[in-house]
């Protein structure tokens, strides 16, 4: 107990310096995250295909058709149809703000209805292929199908009306089209749930959780000076006084864990106070991230144990954090890696930490998400005990 108290006293004296370094790391990573996420969102926006619709779209028929094409883009993320004048379309096309525009000639619908051969004009600057060429084919195919099948439907209704001696005219056509619209807009009998590559959260949230784990992984660097020493004499003295290497290691880990908890608490308090997020949310998030903090702290502590000197320790902490974060999907979704990497990375400590943080953010932190990091921590601390035992007894 006295040994534990001494370790805690030691950490308390060192805390201001370590906290300052940790805050600096957080600021740097935070700025990186904002820039990186912002760039990703912008990139997403740039991938959106915008197509102009030029011409008289006031008829129910054409309006219905445009809506049909919009519905055809099930994600609503890649294709946007916008009605505009021709001059506007040309200007936007030249500036690259739209990919193409479809020109609907005057009287197109009436002409098609009367059997005239009329064409929609698809104007684009992209002739080399790529995604817009694919969409061009899709749009044209959708438009054709829409015209052909809806015409078939209208003819069928006209025949039905004649067969039943019911008056049929232009207004009836419009009624039929509205009816088709209703049918096609009916909710599907199947609901499609697409699990993405981000463990059920959106990409930005996934990335923020991953970077959080990376950031916390770097908090071990300022503590290298405290926990890495080539002098084994204090361990030997303590062992001779009945404080075994195991007790010493556990006491040191406990003090380090306290330091990490306080550091994270302080940083979340700062984040909540300056308004980056709500203070109560920040504190709740801090509390639910403690299991993840266990495993990250244990990993860092194991790193201290295997290091013999300060330079070695800093290198292990820094590169260990970066490499493990990458392999464990903290920087890039793990689902994008080859299967073998996913298998290995999925069982590494930072993966466990990341999943625990994601569960915490989603508010479904269960028994498994709490116990798995703690069990993993126990394994890492046991490994640290073994290393320290070997070091203490070595003759060098």
């Amino acid at each position: 107990m006295k040994y534990l108290i001494a370790q805690i006293k030691r950490v308390v004296r060192y805390l201001p310096f370590a906290l300052l370094i940790s805050v600096l790391f957080t600021v740097v990573l935070g700025l990186f995250a904002v820039r990186f996420v912002g760039a990703s969102v912008d990139a997403d926006d740039k991938q959106m295909v915008r197509i102009g619709i030029v011409g008289d779209t006031s008829t129910t028929f054409l309006g219905f058709g445009i809506e049909l094409i919009r519905e055809a883009d099930s994600s609503n993320m890649m294709l946007r149809l916008e009605e505009m004048s021709e001059s506007e379309a040309i200007s936007l096309l030249d500036s690259g703000k739209i990919t193409a525009y479809i020109k609907v000639p005057d009287g197109f619908i009436e002409g098609v209805s009367h059997g005239d051969v009329m064409q929609l004009e698809y104007v684009t600057t992209d002739v080399s292929g790529g995604i817009t060429s694919v969409f061009k084919e899709e749009i044209l195919s959708a438009v054709s199908n829409m015209l052909v099948h809806s015409q078939k439907g209208i003819y069928a209704m006209q025949q039905l009306a004649r067969a039943n001696s019911v008056a049929y005219g232009k207004n009836t056509d419009e009624l039929v089209l509205r009816y088709f619209n209703l049918i096609l807009k009916r909710p599907s009998v199947l609901s499609l749930d697409v699990r993405g590559v981000s463990d059920g959260v959106d990409f930005v949230t996934y990335l923020m959780c991953g970077l959080f784990v990376l950031c916390v992984s770097l908090f071990g660097i300022p503590y290298c000076n405290l926990y890495v020493s080539g002098d084994k004499s204090i361990r030997r003295l303590a062992a001779s006084r009945g404080v075994s290497v195991c007790k010493q290691t556990v006491a040191e880990f406990a003090s380090y864990l306290c330091a990490m908890i306080f550091t994270l608490f302080a940083i979340m308090l700062i984040i909540g106070t300056i308004g980056i997020c709500d203070l109560r949310y920040a504190m709740a998030l801090f509390a639910s991230c403690i299991p993840a903090l266990f495993v990250v702290a244990a990993l860092q502590f194991f790193g201290f144990s295997v290091s013999d000197n300060l330079a070695n320790a800093v290198i292990i902490q820094f590169f260990g954090a970066i490499v493990l974060s990458y392999v464990c999907g903290c920087i890039y979704p793990i689902a994008f890696f080859p299967k073998a990497v996913q298998t290995v990375g999925g069982v590494l400590p930072l993966s466990i930490a990341r999943e625990s943080v994601i569960s915490a953010v989603c508010g479904d932190l269960g028994a498994l998400e709490i116990s798995a990091p703690i069990v993993y921590s126990a394994i890492l601390v046991s490994a640290a005990v073994a290393v320290n035992y070997r070091k203490t007894l070595s003759d060098k």
């Binding site: 006295k2 040994y3 108290i5 001494a6 006293k9 030691r10 004296r13 060192y14 405290l226 002098d231 084994k232 004499s233 204090i234 030997r236 003295l237 303590a238 062992a239 001779s240 006084r241 203490t392 007894l393 070595s394 003759d395």
Partner: protein, 215 residues
């Protein structure tokens, strides 16, 4: 009181560091163990102190295992640099024991009062060594194990430590120390030379060159 170390063996991997070491020391005696670097002196003291397990042999103090009767001063500085002398001592002493020691015990004799509140990283080598001895002697042990206790210390500091050890001898404590220092050899009542894992008593007469030939 008699310290009896019989047949101590220790192996690290394939290397036999100690091959049946026999050492004895009587009450009030200071026994020195000398040998080349890496011959196993520190290992021997670690085994006696109970820090590492032995592969064979026995350590008996008055016919019993010396569990709480040992004060072990390891090589190096067994202190926490960020803490003060007081905080380092509090790891091994209760508050009352420490106050008593500062008043009239080992801490007072080694002059710890002069720097009791100073953090270790600000202390000189001599201060650190004196503080280390105080930490190791917290339980007023009957057997004192000192691994190169006065290495790299200045003469006044050595003098303080030798004065303390002299007083310990008068109190009937047994001192076993490893050394490379001539002053410590002169202080010892008997010398053992540790070579090839075996300890042999050597009748030291002050002639270093003759002793060197036996190492």
């Amino acid at each position: 009181m008699l310290l009896q170390i019989d047949g101590i063996c220790k192996k690290y991997g394939r290397k036999n560091v100690l091959n049946g070491v026999h050492v004895s020391a009587a009450e009030g005696e200071c026994v020195g163990v000398i040998g080349k670097n890496g011959c196993g002196k520190s290992t021997l003291l670690s085994i006696i102190a109970g820090v590492c397990a032995r592969d064979g042999g026995s350590v008996l103090l008055d016919g019993k295992e010396p569990k709480n009767s040992i004060g072990y001063v390891p090589q190096g500085i067994p202190l926490i640099p960020e803490l003060s002398a007081w905080d380092n001592l509090r790891m091994w002493y209760s508050r009352d024991e420490l106050l008593r020691s500062l008043e009239c015990g080992v801490c007072q004799k080694l002059g710890i009062n002069d720097f009791i509140k100073l953090p270790v990283y600000k202390m000189s080598g001599g201060m650190k060594k004196r503080l280390s001895i105080c930490c190791s002697m917290a339980n007023d042990p009957q057997l004192m194990l000192m691994d190169e206790a006065t290495a790299a210390l200045d003469i006044p500091c050595k003098r303080v430590i030798f004065d303390y050890l002299t007083e310990c001898k008068k109190q009937g404590k047994i001192i076993l120390l490893t050394t490379h220092s001539v002053e410590e050899l002169d202080f010892c009542d008997r010398i053992y030379v540790l070579k090839d894992g075996i300890a042999r008593e050597y009748p030291y007469n002050g002639d270093i060159s003759e002793l060197a030939e036996h190492l």
